[in-house]
Symmetry: D2
Subunit: 147 residues, 4 copies
């Protein structure tokens, strides 16, 4: 189940090609994660500040399908692809409703660490909130047994 956030392309996000610079999609994905957490009932800031659980990015990927332009109103879709005890993967889709165009698709994989950069388990209550309404367990049946 995708979580959706609207965003409007900023001038500073464009480059001399006249389109959104490809690095900004990762900033948007991060925005999507932040809003996804809020929609699940908690703030990622609190998770970091109060519980010392940080989601460092271990891998990131994006496929650019169509350029986005300044002032475009976009729909950013965010979903959890996978939760393991020490890692989470999110997938994203950037969509432009005005002409029904998929702009980009991406994925990020995160490791849970504490303030000393040691790998820890995701605190249970966050895992529970993140899983709410998720169909994650059905999304990757072929992964049993895990790779």
């Amino acid at each position: 189940m995708w979580h959706e956030t609207e965003l409007r392309v900023r001038y500073a996000e464009t480059d001399k090609m006249g389109i959104v610079h490809h690095s900004n999609y990762y900033v948007w994905f991060e925005l999507g994660r932040s809003e996804f957490c809020r929609s699940r009932g908690f703030s990622y800031r609190d998770m970091e500040d109060n519980d010392g659980a940080l989601l460092v990015v271990a891998e990131s990927y994006c496929r650019y399908k169509s350029p986005a332009h300044y002032e475009d109103l976009l729909l950013l879709r965010t979903q959890i692809a996978r939760i393991r005890s020490r890692s989470i993967s999110f997938v994203y889709e950037v969509f432009r409703p005005s002409d029904d165009t998929v702009i980009a698709e991406g994925e990020t994989m995160h490791i849970v660490v504490n303030r000393k950069n040691k790998i820890i388990s995701l605190p249970k209550r966050y895992e529970a909130m993140l899983m709410t309404g998720s169909d994650e367990s059905h999304a990757f049946p072929a992964e049993l047994p895990p790779s």
Copy 2:
């Protein structure tokens, strides 16, 4: 054969975790491509401005292996992974010599387009310069037949 460029981490590239924000690696990779072209005898700006051949990013990927910090002096290694008539792939490695640490590895895939965003072939003279000293043809023998 890797092309190497030095870069020093800017303050603005860090985030509240105290490390380089993951989106900046893609800005560095782009810097690597730019320096790679210059080392092959041409400017990517000229290719864009004079020949109207643009390398739009079609896919980007990065694996983050160790965090980088403000003022770290890093070695950015860039190499061509593959040249096809209408696409080029680059691979990258970010390395910190002071403690012999691989910081990140990445890849970007580019499509050659003209100013009207139509796919074109990479002008031959740029292809020749890019291939100089490359062992690309030997790097992916298993790709025949293509996957």
Copy 3:
């Protein structure tokens, strides 16, 4: 009369000090101008793309009064300070409602140019729309005669 836009601080906008990096306020100011234009009935993109009138930044200034943090919900206030035939100045205020704190104040001065970077007059219809509801003429009485 201030135009107000809400914005939420992005993770990527923070730096290792744990606060919003000071360069991002200028990106926000630009966002404020964009939304200001929209509230006056036109899109800054159209002005650029259709009428070839560009507002290049000639000067920018910001005073930072209190730090902003990740996920802060801020109010960005934008107003025209002055319109001359070939220049426009905007002023800005960044405010955090949750604790009634002024975060920053700023100003930008813009010159109107065409696509060839030649100074031109602001097209009359944009001037008219920008001035709607403005009390600009009363704001700077001491400027007559102009400096």
Copy 4:
């Protein structure tokens, strides 16, 4: 006495106008401060990490005189304008040697704070190193008495 650093414009620093986005000059100014400190014998990182003395930006200003473009090789000149016990001001000039053009001029004012964001005095040894070779005391004679 200006400290000089070379920098080359990155693609990601341009915007759809085809020139360097105005917010990036503040990132460059910061780079100039960092290199200025290094040229005076210390690392700004160490000052922050080891001595807990942070230079938060209180004000920033830039005048844009001529646009800069992708791959331009620029000279960034940095100088201290003023040191007081609890504040420092830097001035900057961005210059393009290839056509002898001043691109921009700017200034930033900084307050010295500790990790708890309390104003402190600049540690003496840093003040001494920053003042090395400075003609600051002669630069602002009219400031006695202070305005």
